[in-house]
């Protein structure tokens, strides 16, 4: 559309204002701010609690720009790259963008490029890219692995990174940083705009996104009111202390669902989602077809049906996991129920924000505790949310495994020159602190397979040509690299299908391995009977009622945030009613403001009687003996990750005083050390059990003892290309180069202990799994405060949930042979003695001998 008269009309944004007006919409101030900033050549970050208007804020600027340059009849070559963390979101975003383009009557094309993109579409894009491309960090990385990437992207004006808060805390964020660094180098005038939900460290988020360059934070809409409350059951006294109540709160939840037009019920793990969905259906059979289930292991079709149902207001309730945390706002949703702990204020608010989108409505989230102490947690979360204490997301620092992956990606494409590439990589915040040694190691790793001192002539990956350029010469190696680009490590998944081929989703291989034909289980909201497994697919048919099992998935679990933990310690102290703690004019009675505290009154009284309810500035330790042995319980309230680290650290230190084996358990509230023999704590505490001296060395020692580094190495092995996941659709890859990461770890630990990847494994366990800085701070606090030791005759209400919890680790300072002498071998009783068939007595017979 030629507009010769455009220059006379006004700024390019005029066309946008007119479009809005024609539809009866009003542009938000923050949208106008982003459009102007973009047109003035600026980059920035939009910080907004809700989804409203963010897409159009970022998308419309480039459209106006093109119109301002004269426009035209033809779709321009690629100008906008839109990076999004989830494929599902990509489709929705592309749709919104498409609608805007059509509304403005512009010839722009919008395309999608993710793992789901069909080969026909890929071929089309190979010929010509659309004007705007919605893609994931991995797919963008894949694009950069082609030699023609620079030419294809030469007209790029804008990179948008959606849900940047989500990417920021993970290696995918660093991958995004590296990709943007490449794009910026090709095109120094490239603008970058991020879209972020509520975040505590928004300044740092801006910095990371723009690699320290200039940019602005634009605050989005924030006038939505949020209501946060908790479901407190009538019959408080029967509340269990531990475990997941399962469905004890079912009735209050059903009542809450009844009260709203549409409700989102969030659970923390997929198995809970399945359990709750079944529970709702059994209690209200008439809700069949009116309620939905949504989580990451369900087939995409199933999820889309649920999303459409929510959008159109056909569903009364949807039980979901974090799979519905991001994405389009569903306006019919009036209320959010959070089953169990939300773990943090940001998450609680983000989930609250999934409701109340109809005009004039407030967001409303109701916590549904699943065991007693979660009531205190819910109260604490509300207190901190109202005080605006939002958590930060810690970005990843210097992930060397990702660096090597990126270098091979670039080498597979146009290749790189050493000094140039080093500058480019170090321009990102993630690698600002990269040392010369680390850079050299990375180059050696991809070219020689190790450090400069060892030469492996048979190793081939990236080669340095005579012209000094690093490239991948062998197409097979480039192909295998492209297949494995990514940072997500998952266990082998088995498809679940009906006999007619209809796919329900996937479950972990370990779950299927434990089923026999005829066993029933619940999945995708259905009762299913397992028939057989063939080629990574489990075939099922409708099952008959019985006692079905629910699958478990090994997913990441968020620990309790410091902000909420702090709130809990405050509330507990206030509850004790210690006169000295009540501020002048203040009251001892918390109940009116915190009905949750009334719910746990009896439990706290018992805790106080048997042991103590800890004050904020003291460390409570309990010792007790059961049939299982001698327990020591600590209650730092620092979140499960820190507790995992602290339990390993203390067990390691105790194990140095005498040979002992420990079973460690931990929750968000505390941890325990269980051993066969009793330890006299007072002298050990005086002797520096909680000391911060030698903390790093002791922590690293305990990591090895508890095999934590070995497990973290799994992700690193995958990202650095040591383990190959296999081609999609083909369950087995070249058996001769298959090894588990555990075995690889052993090889490295033994013969190349200085390898930076091992160091990275240690660093990652420390920083990411154990939240080392938080652990250090927590330890210091414990050491500096009075320690109260209580000998209890049985496990207290605080101890009980830790003891029966599911997460246990081991640590030992005993000689392996000594432990073995106390252990037993389980025989295969079913087989007749002496010479029956051999194969059925091996676990995983298909895998044979080649796996650890």
């Amino acid at each position: 559309m030629k507009r010769d008269d455009e220059a006379a009309i006004g700024p390019p944004t005029e066309i946008l204002e007119r479009w809005f007006a024609a539809n009866g919409w009003r542009a938000f101030d923050f949208q106008r701010e982003v459009w102007s900033a973009y047109l003035a050549g600026e980059s920035g970050l939009v910080h907004s609690a809700t989804g409203s208007g963010k897409t159009l804020a970022a998308w419309l600027g480039p459209l106006a720009e093109w119109v301002g340059e004269g426009g035209g009849d033809a779709a321009p070559p690629l100008r906008v790259l839109w990076i999004t963390p989830m494929r599902a979101l990509a489709a929705d975003t592309a749709l919104s963008m498409q609608r805007a383009v059509e509304g403005l009557q512009l010839p722009w094309t919008v395309g999608l490029r993710t793992g789901d993109t069909s080969s026909a579409e890929r071929a089309r894009q190979a010929r010509r890219l659309p004007s705007a491309l919605v893609t994931t960090p991995e797919s963008l990385s894949l694009m950069l692995s082609n030699a023609d990437a620079r030419a294809k992207l030469s007209d790029l004006r804008l990179v948008v990174v959606d849900e940047w808060h989500e990417l920021l805390g993970s290696k995918r964020g660093v991958m995004t940083e590296l990709c943007i660094a490449r794009l910026t180098r090709w095109n120094p005038r490239l603008r970058t705009w991020g879209l972020s939900a509520t975040l505590g460290n928004i300044g740092e988020a801006l910095d990371r996104l723009l690699a320290g360059g200039a940019g602005r934070v634009v605050e989005g809409v924030s006038d939505k009111k949020v209501v946060i409350d908790t479901l407190v059951p009538a019959d408080i006294d029967r509340f269990p202390w531990a475990g997941h109540l399962g469905l004890a709160m079912l009735d209050p939840v059903i009542q809450a669902i009844d009260e709203s037009r549409s409700t989102l019920v969030f659970t923390n793990v997929r198995s809970s989602a399945e359990t709750w969905y079944q529970g709702l259906l059994e209690a209200r059979p008439e809700w069949a077809g009116l309620i939905g289930l949504h989580h990451g292991s369900l087939d995409a079709e199933v999820r889309r049906w649920v999303e459409a149902g929510l959008k159109e207001g056909r569903l009364k309730a949807v039980v979901a996991t974090s799979s519905l945390d991001l994405g389009v706002d569903f306006s019919p949703v009036e209320r959010v129920l959070q089953i169990g702990s939300a773990k943090g204020v940001a998450r609680l608010l983000q989930r609250a924000g999934r409701s109340g989108h109809a005009p004039g409505q407030s967001s409303h989230v109701t916590c549904v505790p699943s065991h007693a102490l979660e009531f205190v947690e819910a109260a604490a979360a509300r207190r901190k949310a109202l005080a605006g204490r939002i958590e930060s997301r810690r970005p990843v620092d210097r992930p060397l495994d990702l660096l090597t992956q990126h270098l091979v990606t670039v080498a597979s494409g146009e290749g790189f020159e050493e000094a140039d590439m080093k500058r480019e990589v170090m321009a990102t915040c993630a690698f600002r602190g990269l040392t010369d040694a680390e850079w050299q190691w990375a180059l050696d790793f991809i070219t020689r397979g190790g450090d400069a001192l060892k030469a492996y002539p048979e190793y081939k990956k990236v080669e340095r040509g005579e012209d000094g350029r690093y490239t991948v010469r062998e197409p097979a190696i480039a192909k295998r690299h492209r297949m494995s680009i990514g940072t997500i490590v998952s266990d082998a998944a088995v498809n679940v299908c009906y006999r007619n081929g209809k796919r329900l989703g996937n479950v972990e291989e370990s779950f299927i391995a434990r089923l026999s034909p005829g066993d029933t289980f619940v999945f995708a909201g259905q009762l299913l009977e397992f028939m057989r497994v063939e080629n990574m697919t489990a075939y099922v048919r409708p099952g008959k009622a019985g006692s079905p099992v629910i699958p478990r998935w090994d997913g990441g679990r968020c620990p309790l945030s410091s902000e909420v933990a702090d709130g809990m310690r405050e509330l507990l102290e206030e509850w004790t009613g210690d006169r000295s703690l009540v501020p002048p004019g203040g009251t001892r009675d918390l109940s009116p403001v915190y009905p949750e505290m009334r719910a746990v009154k009896r439990l706290l009284r018992l805790q106080q009687a048997w042991s103590r309810v800890p004050r904020r500035r003291e460390t409570l330790v309990e010792q007790t003996q059961t049939r299982e042995g001698h327990h020591i319980f600590f209650y730092p309230f620092e979140g499960r990750q820190v507790h995992m680290g602290l339990s390993a650290l203390l067990a390691h230190r105790l194990g140095r005083t005498r040979a002992a084996s420990f079973s460690l358990a931990f929750t968000d509230y505390g941890f325990e050390l269980l051993s066969r023999e009793r330890f006299e704590l007072l002298p050990l505490l005086k002797g520096g059990l909680l000391s911060s001296d030698n903390l790093l060395a002791d922590m690293l020692g305990s990591l090895n003892a508890a095999e934590l580094s070995k497990r973290q190495f799994r992700e690193i092995a995958r990202v650095a290309g040591l383990v190959f996941q296999g081609y999609p659709g083909q369950p087995k890859t070249n058996r001769q180069v298959q090894a588990t990461s555990g075995l690889l770890y052993e090889v490295f630990a033994r013969w190349d202990p200085a390898n930076p990847l091992l160091g990275q494994a240690e660093r990652e366990v420390l920083e990411r799994q154990l939240e080392f800085s938080r652990l250090t701070e927590g330890l210091r606090r414990m050491a500096a405060s009075p320690v109260v030791i209580r000998q209890t005759h049985k496990p207290t209400p605080f101890a009980f949930p830790i003891m029966v919890g599911r997460f246990r680790e081991k640590l030992t300072s005993e000689k392996l042979a000594d432990r073995v002498r106390r252990m037993q071998l389980e025989f295969d009783e079913a087989a007749p003695p002496g010479g029956s068939a051999f194969g059925d007595r091996i676990e995983n017979p298909e895998q044979g001998a080649l796996f650890d």
Partner: protein
């Protein structure tokens, strides 16, 4: 530091070495399964960077047990060579050097599934290469486990056996093992860079685990 435990199998005294091999005193023979020479090299060839050290360690361990037991012969029960890609010059040279020093040893290789694909070892090494089913005293020499037709006690490898032991609480440990049934036995994998598969023995089987540098009987 090094340990051996004795057991009786098919009427013969056997010494089980913590270096993951079996010594038969009466025949002055060492039985070794799943050496997997060149496994790390084949990974490197495929672009997976692994440190060197496994080949040297294997050879050093081999030399140790030959020296200690004063064996006259070695029988490799299959999977001696890992793959064709693993036949890297340096890897082969290291074993070749050791073989030259110990050229008086009578060494037999019973071909296993990996050997069939990797090809026979270099002729200069003078290893007697044969298929499964040969006999040495009362023993039938195989790669894959199973009772031998025609009697005798079969010795094999192939599966890299390990057992899971359970202790109090929930602790459990998985260890490579020697597993002797009524009619055949399975040796642990000798190679330094090999995984294991957990097996479940029956009552009546003899099972010995290797816990670091000790061999312990668990059944």
């Amino acid at each position: 530091m090094i340990d051996a435990v004795e057991c009786v199998v098919a009427g013969e005294r056997l010494q089980l070495l913590s270096e993951r091999a079996v010594f038969w005193p009466a025949g002055r023979a060492l039985f070794i399964a799943d050496y997997h020479l060149g496994k790390a090299a084949s990974f490197r060839k495929a672009g997976i960077p692994l440190p060197s050290g496994t080949t040297t360690e294997n050879v050093e361990r081999l030399e140790r047990i030959v020296a200690r037991t004063r064996a006259d012969r070695i029988v490799f029960l299959g999977d001696f060579l890992h793959s064709a890609a693993g036949r890297a010059p340096r890897t082969l040279a290291r074993f070749g050097e050791w073989r030259e020093k110990r050229r008086a040893l009578d060494i037999t290789l019973v071909r296993g599934n990996h050997d069939k694909r990797a090809g026979d070892p270099p002729v200069e090494w003078k290893l007697g290469v044969t298929d499964a089913g040969g006999r040495l005293g009362p023993f039938v020499l195989n790669h894959e486990p199973g009772a031998a037709r025609g009697g005798g006690y079969a010795l094999a490898g192939h599966i890299h056996p390990a057992v899971r032991l359970h202790g109090e609480g929930e602790s459990s440990v998985r260890l490579p093992c020697f597993w002797f049934g009524a009619r055949y036995g399975v040796l642990p994998a000798f190679g330094a860079f090999t995984g294991t598969a957990v097996v479940r023995p029956k009552r009546g089987d003899q099972v010995f685990v290797i816990a670091d540098d000790e061999v312990l009987r668990v059944a």
